[in-house]
């Protein structure tokens, strides 16, 4: 117990009761990471997760789903335990949010089933959250940005978005595969372990020799599969460090260029980087330099909220529930191809 000096008599307030606003539990599991977050409007209350790591190769959709099915109860228990340690109880949870898509169908269904059961058990609202929108909203929350251009780079998704007239519009996106996917595939082809992004980053730091690779920006869209093939070929002749360096410099320059185009086109002056690839320090540096040079501000949330996480689902679920965007169980079917611009943003 700490000694607290009280100058004037204050009415005894139970802190728990005062912050007993409403809690939302969110479950994320669109791909490799199964994660549960519990939030209030003010803060993250609890966070627990379990990552599926393939024994060899990349993500196997069925194995990922099996992982989620095996671990979901443990992860939920851990999240609820941490919540209780902070003095909350299950009765404080007013809604259950889950990632309804986009993602791997099998994984999404595990998560959806868990969310439906909890919503029924606790008799609370069910909220189906678009995974991409959740990345954006948690980023805005953590960084305090108003109206950013969002660069969203993950394994499967690579998009440039911005808010306009009730929706997050997609200004540009990958025309073939996601950037994270491209990096992972390259890493795998040269025998690096999964996930490949951090391995490539580590090796790239050892080189400063640029070998030319295709640079494929088309307007505000980009494409990565051609670069992936070219990099694989280079890796047969050149030191791996040099290829990793060249690969990073090329693809990140492309992303930065497209982000800058979107800023210029919309005349917005904030850039928010989200998604797993966003943890790369070289990419962050490039975006920061670009923003500085054009008088814009650059933001990216802490790593645990940049990659896939349950907190982002919980927080977006909270925003959605407040604006009445809850769904009945019978309309809670998952949508593996759910695009962010299909979501009507009623909370802004």
């Amino acid at each position: 117990m700490r000694d607290i000096k009280i100058d004037s008599p204050v009415e005894s307030v139970d802190i728990r009761n005062s912050s007993r606003s409403e809690l939302i539990l969110g479950i994320e599991g669109t791909a490799w990471n199964l994660s549960v977050g519990i939030v209030s409007e003010e803060e993250v209350i609890s966070f627990a997760e379990s990552a599926y790591l393939p024994k060899s190769g990349g993500i196997h959709p069925r194995e990922a789903a099996q992982h989620h099915a095996e671990k979901i109860v443990d992860v939920l228990r851990e999240a609820l335990k941490k919540m209780k340690e902070k003095g909350f109880s299950e009765e404080d949870i007013r809604g259950v949010a889950f990632s309804i898509g986009p993602g791997l169908g099998q994984s999404l269904r595990i998560v959806a089933t868990a969310a439906r059961s909890l919503a029924l058990k606790w008799r609370v609202s069910l909220i189906g959250v678009n995974h991409c929108i959740a990345h954006i909203e948690v980023g805005r929350w953590m960084c305090g940005t108003e109206d950013p251009i969002v660069l969203y780079l993950s394994g499967a998704n690579s998009q440039v978005l911005g808010y306009m007239a009730g929706r997050y519009r997609i200004f540009g996106e990958t025309l073939d595969i996601g950037l994270g996917n491209a990096l992972d595939k390259f890493a795998r082809s040269v025998g690096l372990k999964h996930p490949g992004g951090p391995e490539i980053e580590r090796l790239a730091q050892k080189s400063s020799r640029y070998i030319e690779l295709p640079y494929t920006v088309k307007g505000m869209d980009f494409a990565f599969s051609g670069i992936l093939s070219a990099a694989k070929k280079l890796a047969e002749k050149y030191p791996l460090e040099d290829v990793c360096y060249s690969l990073q410099e090329t693809v990140f320059a492309m992303c930065t260029e497209v982000a800058e185009r979107a800023l210029a086109h919309t005349q917005k002056d904030e850039l928010l980087l989200v998604g797993g690839v966003g943890m790369n320090k070289r990419l962050q540096k490039m975006l920061k330099d670009m923003c500085e040079d054009r008088g814009a501000r650059f933001y990216t949330p802490p790593p645990e909220y940049t990659k896939d996480n349950g907190v982002m689902i919980a927080y977006t679920g909270l925003l959605m529930m407040r604006s009445g965007c809850t769904i009945p169980i019978e309309k809670s079917r998952v949508n593996p191809d759910f695009r962010p611009d299909e979501v009507e943003v009623k909370w802004k």
């Binding site: 200004f171 540009g172 640079y215 869209d221 320059a253 086109h265 670009m290 191809d337």
Partner: protein
């Protein structure tokens, strides 16, 4: 010289009846890559501007060319974005039809890169353009343009329709429009 525009990759200076488009170095990318991109784009842009005009698409006349710089005729027009109408966007569709007829891909077909002067429409900024006969590239041109409409115009759907009315002058339009729909739907969980 007066700066008339400072776009994402270049600075446009007005010099009397001319404009100078100078591609500026980007601090965020390494010098080798930076110079390669700027040199390639300057050269290819000049070529595309000339070829587009040969195809009957109004573009600025080129007066001089160096490593990172193009000097061309000044066009005293307004971007389509500011004067948007169904009629103008239909005309823009006709011009894009002419480009695609000659396998010219604009590469950055936004409503900022289409200038309106009187009853003439000019296409500018071929900095990301290239030659390609492939349906995919043409479809991406359309896709970029539609995305610009969708992200900046409330009446995007009507405007897209008008654009296509003009674009249908290109004999291969059907395949391109089909492919654009495919690009839109393409599942990216591969």
């Amino acid at each position: 010289m007066e700066v008339i525009s400072h776009c994402a990759e270049a600075i446009i200076l007005r010099d009397g009846d001319n404009v100078v488009k100078r591609r500026l170095p980007k601090r965020y990318r390494i010098r080798e890559l930076d110079e390669m991109i700027r040199r390639q784009r300057t050269k290819s842009e000049a070529k595309l501007i000339v070829e587009a005009r040969k195809a009957g698409v109004p573009t600025p006349v080129i007066k001089d060319l160096s490593d990172f710089e193009i000097v061309m005729e000044y066009i005293d027009g307004r971007p389509l974005k500011e004067v948007m109408s169904e009629e103008l966007v239909r005309k823009a569709g006709e011009l894009v039809a002419k480009l695609h007829e000659r396998n010219i891909i604009h590469g950055d077909l936004t409503t900022t890169n289409i200038l309106v002067r009187g009853d003439r429409i000019y296409l500018i900024d071929f900095g990301l353009g290239y030659f390609d006969e492939d349906v995919e590239s043409k479809a991406v041109d359309l896709h970029v343009f539609f995305q610009t409409l969708e992200s900046t115009e409330i009446k995007a759907e009507e405007l897209k329709k008008s654009f296509l009315e003009g674009y249908k002058r290109y004999k291969g339009w059907k395949a391109v429009v089909e492919r654009e729909k495919e690009i839109r739907k393409r599942v990216r969980y591969a």
